[in-house]
């Protein structure tokens, strides 16, 4: 009971601190922007820990964060093997193949307005479908190892990437294209010097959407069959054995990998599209 009261007190206290920081003149500084969400996140973890202990929630329903951290510390080997199997072999290779193919396809259909008018609506439509459902079929075709996971990822990232690249290549004004024409630039010259750089914000938007899709695809595809390693495999078997601390450890790794992957792409974007208004200031 004391722990529950303590949890409520900490929650209210942290909220009061955050409200004070947000209400003070400091709230525009970089320091406040980092501190406030950090305090909020830490408070959530502490309250979680205290409530689980205070209300004596059994570990098979919700383990406290300390138990999850202990599990991560105790089995880095398993987590690393799973990470390599799912994130590197499955998600990353599929991501590269899928985004690369979609990019080349977009360039290929770029010269034909007819194909663009046909492929864009179809691509937009397919991007909204539950493509994850192709996972059982692809696992059947490519076997249970990482190749089938990469295939699922390829199918998942292809259409969002294609649609974004095609839209980006169309994002130049008539004035800019006319200028290239007055320079008597050929198709490839105007593609490399004008239209591809102009398309970069769109392309990176597609790449960023695809990072999340890639990890989701690789993990969910493992629910349909996998070798005895991989994050999806570990999650589904540990859930069956009620080893929830291991499940949460895998989820923490997946969240970390997802954020890092997204962050890496966003960092590259910042370097490539430094000229774009959204990157300035």
């Amino acid at each position: 009971m004391i722990l529950v009261a303590l949890a409520i007190a900490i929650w209210l206290g942290a909220w009061w601190v955050n409200a004070r920081i947000a209400g003070s003149p400091l709230n525009r500084t970089r320091w406040a922007r980092l501190a406030v969400p950090a305090i909020f996140g830490l408070t959530l973890l502490v309250v979680w820990e205290l409530l689980v202990r205070g209300l004596q929630v059994p570990g098979v329903i919700l383990p406290p964060p300390s138990a999850i951290a202990a599990r991560i510390g105790a089995s880095p080997g398993i987590l690393w093997v799973d990470f390599v199997q799912t994130a590197v072999k499955g998600a990353l290779s599929g991501y590269v193949i899928g985004c690369g193919t979609a990019f080349l396809t977009a360039i290929a259909i770029d010269r034909s307005p007819f194909l663009q008018r046909g492929l864009l609506p179809v691509g937009n439509f397919v991007a909204a479908l539950p493509i994850i459902g192709t996972a059982p079929i692809l696992v059947m075709w490519f076997g249970v190892d990482w190749q089938s996971k990469a295939a699922v990822v390829v199918v998942m990232v292809f259409f969002p990437m294609l649609v974004n690249t095609v839209q980006g290549l169309a994002d130049t004004t008539a004035m800019q294209r006319d200028l290239m024409k007055t320079y008597s630039a050929g198709y490839w010259q105007s593609l490399f010097k004008l239209r591809l750089p102009a398309a970069m914000p769109f392309i990176f938007n597609g790449l960023k959407i695809s990072t999340t899709l890639a990890l989701i695809g690789a993990i969910v595809a493992e629910f349909f069959g996998s070798p005895i390693q991989g994050m999806g495999f570990r999650i589904s078997t540990e859930v069956g054995r009620l080893g929830l601390d291991m499940v949460w450890a895998e989820i923490a790794v997946a969240a970390l990998a997802g954020s890092a992957f997204y962050g890496a792409v966003a960092a590259i974007e910042k370097g490539v599209t430094f000229w774009h208004p959204s990157q300035r200031g």
Partner: protein
């Protein structure tokens, strides 16, 4: 006409590639069968066989359509083999979750817009959470809720709600912030209260953003409901159809469940789009 012809051409090309791929992928099995029977297959017999196998590696389009027709129109909707029955199980979880997720998402967005502390605390996490493979959490939610005695529709609906929640929060915050300083100043010269600014300016201005997020959210909800059916060994729902199809090698069943899911997704997004068009037209915001 200008867009219809290219779209139909692309779709026709996809179907043609599909038929060709079906020949290619199923040919091995057909040849093995013929060799076992000691007969030689002519090309036309080979093609005919690859398009009509019971358990092909890749079923031909007409086989999938026939199975879809058979399991939707041909069966009673209460039958365990009817796709309408399974589709409804998944759809009801999707809609319940979508409703919960959207409602909570809008409430949180209103809180974020009106409370600076909440904005600074929650918003970075809401954005960061979009980079996290949330679906990985699905099997755990189901097992956890199962062990506290919640079964059936609700666990799946929770996953759907979770997936549609964050797009709605992010879109709605953007929308509620979309009125510019000029419009807010005008409201102040009318000496409007915070409530009046919300109901007469912010909420109407957020509608285009809300509908865009709703389209993303409803598609995500359906994916959530389907994935929620996978790891639990559920026996009902579109996800369960896919899973049992993959266990027993019933490829045509997987493909028909996949197409049923695609049709449901297209219908849901289409309905939201229709409501969007009608609403924005009535509000004079249609483009």
């Amino acid at each position: 006409m200008r867009t219809l012809v290219p779209i139909l051409t692309v779709i026709a090309a996809i179907v043609a590639i599909w038929y060709a791929a079906a020949i290619f992928m199923n040919a091995q099995w057909a040849r093995d069968q013929a060799a076992r029977a000691g007969t030689e297959l002519s090309v036309s017999a080979l093609v005919a066989d690859t398009w009509s196998q019971d358990r092909p590696r890749l079923p031909a389009p007409h086989q999938v359509v026939a199975e879809l027709w058979d399991t939707t129109v041909g069966k009673k909707i209460t039958s365990k083999r009817s796709l309408v029955f399974h589709g409804w199980i998944t759809l009801s979880a999707t809609l319940l979750g979508f409703g919960i997720g959207t409602g909570l998402g809008i409430l949180l967005a209103v809180g974020i817009v009106h409370n600076r502390a909440m904005d600074m605390s929650v918003m970075p996490w809401a954005i960061a959470s979009q980079t996290i493979p949330i679906l990985a959490i699905a099997p755990m939610i189901i097992v956890v809720l199962n062990s506290v005695g919640v079964q059936g529709l609700l666990p799946k609906a929770f996953i759907s709600a979770y997936l549609s929640f964050f797009p709605v929060v992010v879109g709605m915050v953007k929308g509620l912030r979309s009125p510019d300083a000029m419009q807010l100043d005008l409201m102040r010269t009318y000496s409007a209260s915070a409530g009046q600014v919300f109901w007469k300016l912010r909420l109407p201005a957020s509608m285009p953003y809300l509908f865009t997020s709703l389209k993303i959210g409803v598609a995500a909800s359906l994916v959530g409901a389907i994935v929620g059916e996978l790891p639990t060994g559920a026996i009902r729902g579109l996800g369960a159809r896919m899973l049992s199809g993959s266990y027993y090698g019933q490829t045509i069943q997987i493909w028909s469940a996949l197409f049923a899911a695609a049709i449901v997704a297209a219908a849901l997004v289409g309905i939201v789009g229709l409501i969007q068009r009608v609403t924005l037209k009535r509000m004079g915001m249609a483009r």
